[in-house]
Symmetry: C2
Subunit: 414 residues, 2 copies
């Protein structure tokens, strides 16, 4: 089955927003084995949208379009649908009731302008919204199918998960593309490439691909087969082999971020963590608290940018501040120990360094020290992170989280 993804909205063509819906939809379709052959984006113009619909329907079996379903004058996707497919619209009282109720529950009366969202092309289905007020539309046309959903990502995703992906999964029949991603950290991309080179060359189904970002390497294995179970079966031995070769560097074989893996391990160990951050400015704390339920294992972070705060809040010694300085192994270690003490934590990490672009405390931009402190372990790592300020911060966060992960997996000495 061939699919095409259409983004509608002048703000996309002006570059004011990214067409992130296209990426998200494409990724989901790839997961269920639907081939996407084209993306198109077009502005809020009836004739041009209609042309884009016609072209997409001429070359794809399924078209998914996002945007232009709002109630205001610049939302013209409905009109374009009428032009492209020669459809008439009819008002649906049950959608009208739903809209009025939605506004009532928010304590507001519905502007008449919103009534247009109760209009559905004759002969087409609609998808009731949960979050928003715009129903999705499903039109069949000469054996092809066109889905039109709102451009607001959360509203689009709700309809993709609830209706479109299940329907397409059924249509696509017993054919599936399954991807598994292994994520590794604390290992350079070139080392991953070297370790996996023969697999990368030899294997086409599953295929092997890798993608590096600051402080992390993703290895993606994708297999196509008649069913998900068959594809899983193809992937399993290769995934095991990749995991074996990369060893302790692999922090997850599931779809989770490093901070989620750390949270999971903390929870399993019944341990509570604290941080002492300098160059990352709260970034480690921010990542550890992204997940609901993080209060089970996260106590707090002392973000101490100034030298005085490192001393007065975290208890970093004057000898360290005057001797090796704020960017040093000693400082990172004392910060970690200080965080463990003031938050009464089982384990703590400390981070200090020069994020750049200027040097800091006598250290060049990119120089970083991270340390871990627990009753049964003390550890520190120093390195020079590449890239700009943001990337140095990201590398530092990764290094501190990886230190935690290795401690929790009993790999620190490995």
């Amino acid at each position: 089955m061939r699919a095409e993804v259409v983004g509608i909205g002048t703000e996309i063509l002006l570059g004011q927003i990214a067409n992130s819906n296209a990426q998200w939809i494409s990724e989901r379709l790839a997961e269920i084995g639907v081939d996407v052959l084209h993306h198109q984006a077009v502005g809020d113009n009836v004739d041009r949208i209609a042309d884009v619909f016609r072209l997409a329907l001429s070359r794809a079996d399924v078209v998914i379009a996002t945007g232009g379903l709002g109630p205001t004058q610049d939302d013209v996707t409905r009109e374009a649908l009428a032009v492209a497919l020669g459809l008439e619209f009819a008002r649906h009282p049950e959608i009208e009731d739903f809209l009025r109720e939605k506004f009532r529950s928010l304590g507001r009366s519905m502007p008449d302008i919103n009534l247009v969202q109760a209009d559905v092309p004759v002969g087409c289905r609609y998808i009731m919204p949960e979050r928003g007020t715009a129903p999705g539309l499903v039109c069949e046309h000469e054996g092809k199918r066109l889905y039109v959903v709102p451009g607001v990502p959360a509203e689009m995703r709700e309809m993709m998960h609830g209706t479109i992906l299940p329907e397409l999964g059924e249509l696509a029949g017993p054919s599936a593309l399954v991807s598994r991603v292994l994520r590794a950290t604390g290992i350079p991309e070139s080392k991953v490439a070297e370790l996996l080179d023969d697999l990368f060359r030899a294997s086409t189904n599953p295929s092997v691909a890798y993608l590096a970002s600051s402080g992390e390497v993703k290895v993606r294995l994708s297999a196509k087969a008649a069913s998900r179970a068959d594809a899983d079966e193809l992937i399993r031995p290769l995934a095991d082999e990749v995991e074996r070769r990369l060893g302790a560097a692999v922090f997850t074989t599931g779809d989770e971020e490093l901070e989620q893996a750390v949270g999971r391990l903390l929870k399993a160990a019944g341990k509570r963590v604290a941080c002492a951050e300098s160059l990352t400015g709260g970034g480690v704390a921010k990542r550890l608290t992204q997940s609901p339920g993080s209060s089970d294992y996260f106590l707090g972070s002392a973000v101490c940018y100034s030298e005085e705060a490192k001393h007065s809040v975290l208890g970093v010694s004057e000898e360290t501040l005057e001797g090796p300085g704020v960017v040093s192994e000693e400082c990172a270690r004392e910060m970690a120990a200080g965080a463990r003490r003031i938050f009464d934590a089982d384990v703590a990490v400390g981070l200090t360094g020069a994020a750049g672009p200027e040097s800091h405390g006598g250290a060049p931009p990119g120089q970083v020290w991270v340390a871990l402190d627990a009753e049964d372990a003390q550890e520190a790592r120093g390195f020079r992170a590449p890239g700009d300020r943001e990337q140095v911060m990201r590398w530092s966060e990764q290094a501190a989280l990886d230190l935690l992960r290795r401690y929790l997996q009993d790999l620190l000495r490995a």
Copy 2:
């Protein structure tokens, strides 16, 4: 002049990468008054790329395509160009020399496979790369112009800035689109819409548009004129009027984030700030430390997730914790005062609340208190933030930063 942006690469259609080049190019083209009417994305397939080129050239004056110029087998954009425009390629010795020299300077010998990058269609120009090894190509075809540049963002941008934007600026002639964005916070979108409704309806050049995100409303004014100066002249009175109507809610008329505006004001006032964060988990600190030089005004943040840490680190009283609880005006005020004390800051903000999805400390998800503490001002605000965990956090950060901004602009009592 009408332009079209084409992204080439199967990884875009698989959703593995976002077509961020399309957004960036569109934004640059809008700035010089070139209208982008369509985006297309297509995979690494000769016939489909050729079709996409033909379609784009049939409806646009200028086409900018990115990707598929690498040396490996999956890079077929050159071949597609030959098919679509009926062109022959010829090897250019000066590019060959450049490539060999590039590899030599990296201490490597050039694989023969790279020689294909020295091939240029007969009758076309090329753009010499600085960063990468793939030259850009410039083909004229029946009065239209097609630029093909590498997909690596840095290499694409180098050619856009160095060659394409200057050429198109000249072609577009004395015509410019200028946008000015005013950003407001502490005001609901509906209130902005109400205050600006008549301007929105009456003005087409400059046009008025607004875009709301969690805790912020952007008002964008865009004017088209024969020159930048003329467009500026058109925008100025309208921008002044918008600013007058939105009053203290406008935090910037420049291109800066709320945290940058706060940083600028702190620097100007010679004041240093500290934070006490609970539900935002370090998010305010993270934002205040994004900019280089933030150590001039940012001292630190005590991220205290647990009740014990609020007491032991920040000195929140037991009466408050046992009485009104962790999500209360009192707690936010005591957190701010505690942060000001332990970091020895001129001004501090405290944030507490229930980020969700669960309720916390007896407060429902979304309930937030932010407070500011300075020698000459104490202030607190409570509200119920809409949305999911991430949005609640964002709203909370915005509210705390806005409290700081209003304090620094002497608007707290306004």
